[in-house]
Symmetry: C2
Subunit: 403 residues, 2 copies
C-alpha cells in the first residue's frame, strides 16, 4: 500500500486538528506535504515546518506529487474555487465545507462523474458521526422514511444552557462563543443555516434528491424568549433546533429546519450541550439513533481522516439513489402544527392558519397554536423574521412518530 501525499488548504482549528490526527495515526499511510494558508507568518498553536507552508494555491493544485487535497478553509466561495479546480484537474478532494457543498453539490457531483474523480465530505455533516457514509452505503435502499436530528452544536449548547441550567439566552450565547462552539458571527449557527446546509447534503444521500437551500423553510432560535422557555417547561418538553427530511408518501418528501417542542420520550431530547444526534427511521428497523461530537477540531479531523483512509481504497460516493426509478419529489404542500409567540406583530394578519387550536393573550406576550401549510410559512418567511416572533414545530399531529 503506497502513501497518500496530501495538500492541505486551511490551517485553522480544523486544519491543525487534521495535521495532528494524521501524525498520530501510524497506520494511515498518509502524509501532509504542503499546507496553503492565507498568511504564512501568522503565529499558530501547532508547530509546523515552515517549508510546508505556502500562500500560493498553485503550489498544491499544480503539484504532481499530490494525490489528495483536503480543504478545510472557512470561506465558502474560495473553497468552491479550490475544490472545483482540483476536481477538474482530476485530483480527489476531501472537504468539510457544508455551506459550499449545500450550494454547489449538483455541479460538483456532475464533475465527479464526468471527470471520474472523488469528492468526499463526511466531516461536513455532524463532524465525527458518520451520517453521510451510512446513508450512502448502508441505508442504500428505499426503506428509509426519515432522517431527523440536532445537527448544530452551537445552538444546541445554547439551548441546553437555557433549559438545563436556567441561564439567560445572551449569557449562554456568549459562553458558546468563548468556548469556541459558536462562530464570531453566530447567525450561521443560531438562525439555522448551518443545520440547513447539513440537511441539504444529508438529503442527497438519504433520498437521492438535491433541494436548493433557499427552497427550504429555515427558522432559528435567535428570537427565543423567556415566555417560550416557560411554556416549554410547563409542558414538560425542551425546545431543540431540529432539522428533518421526511417521506410523507411514496411519491413525496418534505424537509425543514425549525425549533421543535421535544418530549422526554424522544431520542433527541437527551442530546445536550455541543453534541449532535441523528435519528434514522426506516420501514423495517424502526428507529436508529447515532450520537456523538458534531464539531470541534479533533472530532472533525477524525472524520476527515476516515475520508482520507477511504481514498487509500479508492472509495467514492456513487450517489446510487439519484438513479432510483421511484425517487420521491420534494413538496411543501402539507400541514404542520406550530406554535407562534408574538407581541407587537399581529400574527393572524401575517399568517393564514388552516385551523387555530389555541390562542393565548396576555399583557406580556401572546401565542397561537394552529395548523398551517408549510408553503404558507415559506411564502411569509421574511415577515416571520420580526424580532418579536418565535415559532416552533409541534410534531405531535404531523406524523406518527413515537420516538
Amino acid at each position: 500500500m503506497s502513501n497518500i501525499n496530501i495538500g492541505l488548504f486551511g490551517f485553522g482549528v480544523v486544519g491543525q486538528g487534521v495535521f495532528e490526527v494524521i501524525r498520530k495515526s501510524k497506520n494511515a499511510h498518509a502524509e501532509i506535504v504542503k499546507i496553503c494558508v492565507s498568511d504564512r507568518t501568522k503565529p499558530r498553536r501547532t508547530a509546523v515546518d515552515p517549508a510546508l507552508l505556502t500562500e500560493r494555491a498553485e503550489e498544491i493544485l499544480d503539484n504532481p506529487r499530490i494525490d489528495l487535497i483536503v480543504e478545510v478553509i472557512n470561506d465558502a466561495e474560495e473553497a468552491y474555487r479550490i475544490v472545483r479546480t482540483a476536481l477538474l484537474k482530476g485530483i480527489p478532494v476531501v472537504s468539510g465545507n457544508k455551506a459550499m457543498l449545500a450550494k454547489h453539490l449538483p455541479e460538483l457531483i456532475e464533475i465527479q462523474q464526468t471527470h471520474d474523480v472523488a469528492l468526499l465530505y463526511d466531516a461536513s455533516s455532524c463532524g465525527s458521526i458518520p451520517v453521510i457514509r451510512n446513508l450512502e452505503e448502508y441505508y442504500d435502499n428505499d426503506l428509509l422514511l426519515e432522517v431527523k436530528g440536532i445537527l448544530n452544536g452551537s445552538s444546541n449548547y445554547i439551548l441546553s444552557r437555557v433549559f438545563d441550567h436556567e441561564e439567560a439566552y445572551d449569557d449562554a450565547l456568549q459562553q458558546a462563543q468563548e468556548l469556541g462552539f459558536a462562530e464570531k458571527d453566530p447567525s450561521f449557527d443560531i438562525e439555522g443555516f448551518d443545520s440547513l446546509f447539513k440537511l441539504v447534503i444529508i438529503t442527497v444521500h438519504a433520498l437521492g434528491t438535491y433541494v436548493a437551500p433557499e427552497r427550504i423553510f429555515t427558522y432559528g432560535i435567535s428570537t427565543i424568549h423567556d415566555a417560550d422557555i416557560r411554556y416549554a417547561r410547563e409542558k414538560g418538553v425542551k425546545i431543540k433546533l431540529v432539522a428533518q427530511v421526511v417521506k410523507v408518501s411514496d411519491e413525496h418528501f418534505t424537509m425543514f429546519v425549525m425549533p421543535e417542542f421535544v418530549e422526554p420520550s424522544k431520542y433527541i431530547y437527551s442530546v445536550d450541550d455541543e453534541y449532535n444526534g441523528v435519528v434514522i427511521r426506516g420501514e423495517c428497523y424502526d428507529r436508529q439513533f447515532m450520537f456523538g461530537k458534531g464539531a470541534g477540531s479533533l472530532p472533525t479531523a477524525s472524520s476527515i481522516l476516515s475520508d482520507v483512509m477511504a481514498r487509500l481504497h479508492n472509495y467514492r460516493y456513487e450517489y446510487k439513489k439519484q438513479h432510483y426509478l421511484q425517487k420521491p419529489a420534494y413538496t411543501t404542500d402539507l400541514s404542520l402544527k406550530i406554535y407562534v409567540r408574538y407581541s407587537q406583530t399581529n400574527i393572524l394578519h401575517v399568517l393564514h392558519f388552516e385551523h387555530i387550536h389555541e390562542q393565548y393573550v396576555s399583557d406580556e406576550s401572546n401565542y397561537v397554536i394552529g395548523t398551517i401549510r408549510l408553503s404558507e410559512l415559506i411564502e411569509k418567511r421574511d415577515r416571520l423574521r420580526a424580532p418579536d416572533l418565535f415559532l416552533a414545530n409541534l410534531p405531535i399531529f404531523f406524523l406518527d412518530r413515537d420516538r
Copy 2:
C-alpha cells in the same frame, strides 16, 4: 444495473423477513429465486410460491443462475458447511449466523481471500445497527480505543423488566420467550454466548485480530438474585450484560462479556428492553453511540438487505486492520474490580483477589468487592458457574471512562 438472483437458506423468522423486505424494496434489483428449507410442507406465515422451495441444498449451490447466497438458518454447523461450500465455489454469501462466524472466521476470511469471493455479515452483530460496516469502513484507522455495548436483546429485555418494572427474573424470562426475543433454550442469550460471538466478530473489524471465543471470559445473568438487584438499586445503578473490547495500551487490548454495574451517566444505561446500544470510543472523537433494534425479523432482514445491496456494487470487507503493522495483541494480564455475591460457595477459597475492598456477610447472602486478575477469572471460570454465585464488573476503577 442487472438483477441479483438470490438463493436463500432458511425460511424461519429471519428468512421470511428477508423475503418480505426484498419484495418491498422496489429499487433493490434483487430477487429470491430459490429457498432451501428442511421441510417444504411445513405451514408458514408468509405465502410463497411452492416452486421456490426446495429441500436440497444443491439446487442452490449448483445453480449457475444464482449470484448470491443468503444464509439465515439456525444450525451453526450446517450453516458453516453451506457457507464454506458456496465460498469455495466462488459464490458470494450474506450470513447472519454469529455462532458460526465466531468459530470459523479465520478460515472463512482466508477462503474469501484465496478464492476472491465476498462474505458479508453485518446482520450477525446488533441486527439493524451497522456496527461491522462502520468499524470496517469508517473507524478504519488506529484511533479506535474501545467498543463496548449491549449486544443481546433478550438478556437486556429481561434485565429491563427486572429493573424498571420490578418483575421477578423468571417471569421476565418467560415473557421474553413468549415475545420471541429469547430462544427456547435461553442459555445462548442469558449466559452471554450470543454477546460473546458478536464481540469476537466485532473485534476482528475493530482491531484486526481474531480471538477464539473459548479464550474470552464470559459470564451471564442466569444466576442474578434479588440481593444483586437490591444492591444495584441502592447504589443507583443498573445491571446490564456488557460486552467490550478495550485497548489497554498501544500494544495490548482485552475483551470480555460480563454483567456490569452501569451508572445513569453512561450511554448504555438508557438502552432498555430488546434494544442494542454500542459505544465506540476513539482518541479524537471521544465517544460515539449507536442505538437501535438488535434483533427481530424485520430489523435483521433490513440489515441483510443492506448487505445484498452492497453486493450490487461488489462490496466486500477488506479486513484492512489485519494488515496493520502495529496491531495490538490480546491480553488477560490486567486487573478488574468486581463484585461477587455468594452463599454456600466460599468465594475466597475459589478466587485469589489482589485486594479486597469490601466484604459483606449476612444471613441471606454475602458479597465481596475486590481487585482480581482477568486471567484468574478465566482460570476459575468453571467453578464460577455455581448457581449460588453472581459476578459483576465495577468499571469505575478499571479505566477512565466518563460515559
